[in-house]
Amino acid sequence: MVDSVKQPGRLQPAPENFLSEEQIQAVGAGRRDFLRKGLFAAGAAVAAPLAARASEGDPAILKLPEWTTTLGQPVAVRPYGLPSKYEAGVIRRESPGLTRVGGASVSFTPLQSLFGIITPSGLHFERHHQGWHDIDPSRHRLMINGSDPDFVKKPKVYTMDDIMRLPPVSRIHFIECGANTGLEWGNVAVPTVQYTHGMLSCSEFTGVPLKTLLDDCGVDYKRARFVLAEGADGSSMTRTIPMEMVENGEVMVAYGQNGEMLRPENGYPLRLVVPGVQGVSWVKWLRRIEVGDKPYATKDEAVHYIDLMPDGLHRQYTSVQECKSVINTPSGGQQLLEKGFFNVSGIAWSGRGKITRVDVSVDGGINWQTARLEGPIQNKALTRFNTNWVWDGKPAILQSRAIDDTGYVQPTYSQLRAVRGTKSIYHNNAIQSWKVAESGEVSNVQVL
């Protein structure tokens, strides 16, 4: 793909990007005569489209707007800052008809409008099992005990004061619901990336490695190979976590999210962070950790979050979110305004490690080109990719395909369904396709 595109009518950033390597060297060598020529050409190109609007120029420039000619608002009008009023459409949304009870439901992150890799805390997706509460941190407790008293030398209770005294770590990780993209296993069902992939967020979490606390209680790691995490909400959600993930230091008991405390909807004041594992295991409002010698077959690992296979068996304890990616600009339900240059941008992630490569196709997967990965590329975190594309006005199908550091390549729908059928609900990591029509309208399609 070409790195710079000739765009009549558009002003290019100057001067660094305006000059080629050779030209910069030429300037350095004392030759400047071509610059006049170059600047004149750029000026002419800018003037052309403006002439159509007004003979003298753009009214947005010529007529000074009120924000340039009046006094603005003082500090602390909004002691806690809010987005611009022009961003009112960038909000979490429910998918109509998906659930019938708001307390056991989902709201989706508006991925179509987000940049980079960090999800603003107010836009982090929600999934509650029995509603959310705003818990009083002074009355919140974390208990650590064993399924057998022998497994823990000293079962302990920690207050938030205790936990926040301990040496913390801060790490960026994605969290994805196991049912993300679950609506699309059988066929296309929803129009935009908010609903196809919006049970996905990524934050910097701050907290204490769970191992620090288990060490402090004197856990018998030889016999206690499973961890049960339990929430303090009405559902007291429980999930089984492997001790190996605790021992390697990855699992953490987090109170911070993007530099502030967790939001109540995301588990304030304490939640478990289980990097790479589906969101249901990141137990919110965490009140108890039990270590034991067997898995627990809790409701959310024996009735829900089990993957139905074509032979009628359910896969139980499926936890890892396998390598996946999606283009969010442009994406379903959006409209390209004109032909020409577009930056195709998306996110990639893997529950097994780091993203090493993302390929993008604009022809439905016949040919692929490697996209630019934007740093930082981190373990079990969203990774942003970008690639240049010139839309020629003809129909196109945009796809992205991510590869992680285990060498795993994100599969197609045909490959996934050949093994898992269409009824598993969970863990759909197929390549997403967005069809661009001649009208410029982008829509959700599935390429087999």
């Binding site: 960038v90 000293k154 129009p191 009140r287 890892v320 997967g365 898992r420």
Partner: protein, 349 residues
Amino acid sequence: MSRFSKSILVLALFGASTATFAFDNFKGVGRQATPAEIKAWDIDVRPDFKGLPKGSGNVDRGQELFEEKCASCHGTFGESNEVFTPLIGGTTKDDIKTGRVKGLSSGDLPQRTTFTKVATVSTVFDYIQRAMPWTAPKSLPPDEVYAILAYMLNLAEIVPADFTLSDKNIAEVQKLMPNRYGMTTDHGMWPGAPAKKGGMGNGGIPDVKNVACVKNCKSEVKIGSSLPDYARNAHGNLAEQNRTFGPVRGVNTAGDSAPAKPAAASPALELAQKSGCMACHGINNKIVGPGYNEIQARYKDQPDAETRLVAKVKAGGQGVWGAVPMPPNSHLSDADLKTLVQWIMSGAK
């Protein structure tokens, strides 16, 4: 200066030495849990019944409790699909014999119910005990949990109508669970140790493989599915769900005569949604309970309607609108109850 560096060095050494001595490492942080505290919170019940409280309950008592506390969401026979997916149905006598629900592979099931999926009876006990009823979790003592579970097992035709379930015989019931052999952990998506090392699964080997082909990877593009036209605006006007500047716009799916944005929701409507009322009542339609328009119509000419309705919503009730009972709503304050009732009686707008 040299003394300063030395003290840093000492500190560093101290840090390194304590790191290896992990147990009870952080002086003054946390305290020992008391046995009573552990008993209060350690309520989980494992598939091997570790953690199961002593107690018992029979099917008849279970039916009474179910009708009182569960039927408003789940239906009298656990069959309701109105609020949550059904609990009961889809299993056969033959499934109880084989331990595999045949409908899961034959495609005969219109919908998976709890009992078509769950392999472990401990799971159901644990969940009822920790999370039910919906608006009053953890309010059921063990004997009531046993009774309700006994009733559900009877509905699923796993135990007879005169059955009494207890901590003594629950292991025998496990041997009759219709989908008891229906789970597999033979997959690569358990992030811990593999089965051969005491964990589960195959140690992370993926079941689906793709290769990163780059050029001429296939001869044609087959589109298997597209968004149906009727689904184009099922999620509202997409133009309002995208920015109005930048490289793209949202598609206007509201048509040319796009309706104005709905007025801001009323605080009372928000309260009704937040309090779980809308799960059972629609504004203009019956769901499990009557629509608010029906309630208003019935009570509008009664001078004491407000007082009576506040009391009814608070205490719950049965019979006025049919057999399905309304659960008590003791989680709502009197002020909130009044707000809700006034809102309903003024047309729920």
